[in-house]
Symmetry: C2
Subunit: 148 residues, 2 copies
């Protein structure tokens, strides 16, 4: 079965966002409150401008010994990130994330972010799909669906 | 096929470690240099004392607006973490990490850390195992191994 990013992997949700002039401290607070590892940075039309992760905070603020109140989201985000569309397949998205070592990708239509997909979400979906394949193949062998 | 944590998922390696009195800044620098998302914190017998992740840095330093030079690894690590043994199965380890929402676990013998396993490593291994199951089942159906 073909599994689409929306709705098979994630649902459309209220995506947490910050603006480009938010500080690293603000970004970290928002991510901690929402219990998320990546947050979408938007421009003044509410379109995706970048994505900012816990890794960016660790590497571009803490590892450099910078003050998180003086560093802006715009300076440490990944600008213009790759995005998925709602109709992309879970398997293709997983290949993309594995090959480029992404952990999170925005799902976007016309620049607006509808959801954020994690590699954990995708692996779960692809694993389920594979397990279902195995069950169907076994059902075929053992005749549960014989003649169906 | 039963897949063991060592050697099927990861190899025994030189594990990067820091001591409990390292600062958050030191920890972040070490993690950035090694390109890792989690680092093992050891005591003075080189035994595992805790694990410290990019998430800990983001949530317990940056989100609180603290100075990374005044926060110690011991204060923000997860102390006495769950560990895997080299002979654990990849599938069981994945269940553990999924149910407890871990992304990284140390592989330990007698308190010494032999490797660190990420959920990404485990998913890849389990996915490969499932794909192999499917191939073997299909080979059975189509007779490649008939009578073998």
């Amino acid at each position: 079965m073909y599994r689409k990013i929306i709705p098979n992997v994630v649902s459309e949700t209220d995506v947490s966002t910050i603006t480009k002039d938010a500080t690293a401290h603000d970004a970290a607070k928002a991510m901690a409150e929402k219990n998320i590892a990546a947050i979408i940075v938007v421009d003044d039309q509410a379109k995706i401008s970048g994505i900012l992760t816990e890794r960016d905070l660790a590497r571009k603020v803490t590892a450099l010994g910078l003050d998180s109140n003086t560093v802006l989201a715009a300076d440490i985000m990944t600008a213009n990130p790759d995005t998925l569309t709602p109709d992309d397949s879970a398997g293709d998205a997983l290949e993309l994330m594995n090959s480029r070592r992404y952990r999170h990708l925005p799902v976007a239509v016309d620049g607006k972010c509808l959801a954020v997909v994690s590699i954990r979400d995708l692996y779960s979906t692809v694993k389920e799909a594979l397990e279902e394949d195995i069950k169907e193949t076994e059902a075929f062998i053992f005749g549960d669906r014989y003649g169906a």
